[in-house]
């Protein structure tokens, strides 16, 4: 049931490659055109360390181990507006975490409406460390829900543990 006209619409070997090129090149043109402002920011050096849009997520910043320790000490002295959040899995949390941290695995949060921490102003979020990304993803979600003082401890659990800081096992 094939007609001669089919050949024009990519049913021959030549049309196959032509069609692929057409889609791929058109996509590139559209992608560049639509994201031109973003590409310019990228060219000027933005988004090299993280894809966090600092203009959109003004309340998220990255902190070092020293700053995290400082906040931890304040928490221990009774700073009730501070909350440490562990974005790793429940198993990882159970095996060891920063004392007093709340377990909030990223995949349990997505799509959940229950994210209210009464009286809390500052959130300190961490994950495994190294390349882990769940702390940042969680921070964005919480920022969208109205928390504008979020600190991400980049070194994460690995760094915390490596220097022998206090740890707590489940619960």
């Amino acid at each position: 049931m094939r007609t001669v006209g089919d050949a024009k619409f990519g049913l021959t070997g030549q049309g196959l490659v032509g069609g692929i090129l057409a889609i791929v090149i058109l996509s590139l043109i559209l992608g560049v055109a639509v994201n031109f402002p973003l590409l310019r920011r990228f060219a000027s050096g933005e988004f090299r360390a993280s894809f966090l849009d600092a203009r959109k997520y003004t309340g998220i910043r990255f902190i070092t181990l020293a700053e995290t320790e400082d906040l931890f000490a304040r928490k221990r002295q009774g700073a009730a507006e501070l909350l440490f959040i562990d974005s790793r899995s429940r198993q990882d949390y159970a095996a060891g975490h920063i004392p007093g941290a709340l377990s909030l695995p990223l995949d349990t949060v997505q799509g959940s409406g229950l994210l209210d921490f009464p009286g809390i102003q500052t959130l300190v979020i961490y994950c495994e460390g190294g390349d882990c990304q769940t702390s940042l993803s969680l921070a964005k979600i919480l920022h969208d829900r109205g928390y504008y003082d979020i600190r991400i401890f980049e070194g994460g659990w690995e760094e915390w543990r490596a220097v022998g800081l206090p740890e707590e096992k489940w619960p």
Partner: protein
């Protein structure tokens, strides 16, 4: 034969719809998608950024072409290749134990797991069906039909 043609049309509509939807969600949030790509820890930061700008449009255009019937086989082949890539990435993430959401449907993303691979495999089957159904008729086939 007629049944098969309707089936292929159905496959085209489903695949096209899924890819337009998935692509559109990523186009709205390129940085979020770039982050999702990076979560798989396979490509560099810059490559993830460029892919996030380019890939969603390949998805949308392939999906649209598949539905409209322009370059159907090219679109089906591109979609198959993308699906193979996605399956590979998710499998690799699972093997390496990377905790990540798949990033396939923007913020509706679920965790990358085995069911995601199975879903992609079904779509891949559809795409390959469409691809091979549109194969140009070889003289041999035509001769057989006439004979």
């Amino acid at each position: 034969m007629i049944r098969n043609r309707w089936l292929i049309l159905l496959f085209r509509l489903i695949l096209g719809g899924v890819f337009i939807w998935a692509g559109a969600l990523k186009i709205v949030d390129p940085l979020g998608f770039a982050q999702s790509i990076k979560n798989y820890q396979v490509v560099s930061q810059s490559l993830a950024f460029l892919a996030a700008i380019w890939l969603p449009w390949v998805e949308v255009l392939s999906g649209a072409f598949l539905i409209l019937g322009f370059f159907k086989r090219s679109a089906a082949l591109l979609i198959s290749l993308m699906l193979i890539g996605f399956i590979g990435l998710v499998a690799l993430a699972l093997l390496r134990g990377i905790d990540t959401s798949c990033g396939c449907f923007g913020s509706f993303s679920r965790r990358a797991d085995l069911s995601l691979i199975l879903g992609d495999a079904v779509l891949l089957y559809f795409a390959l069906k469409v691809f091979f159904s549109g194969r140009p008729a070889r003289p041999v086939d035509l001769a057989r039909k006439q004979g």
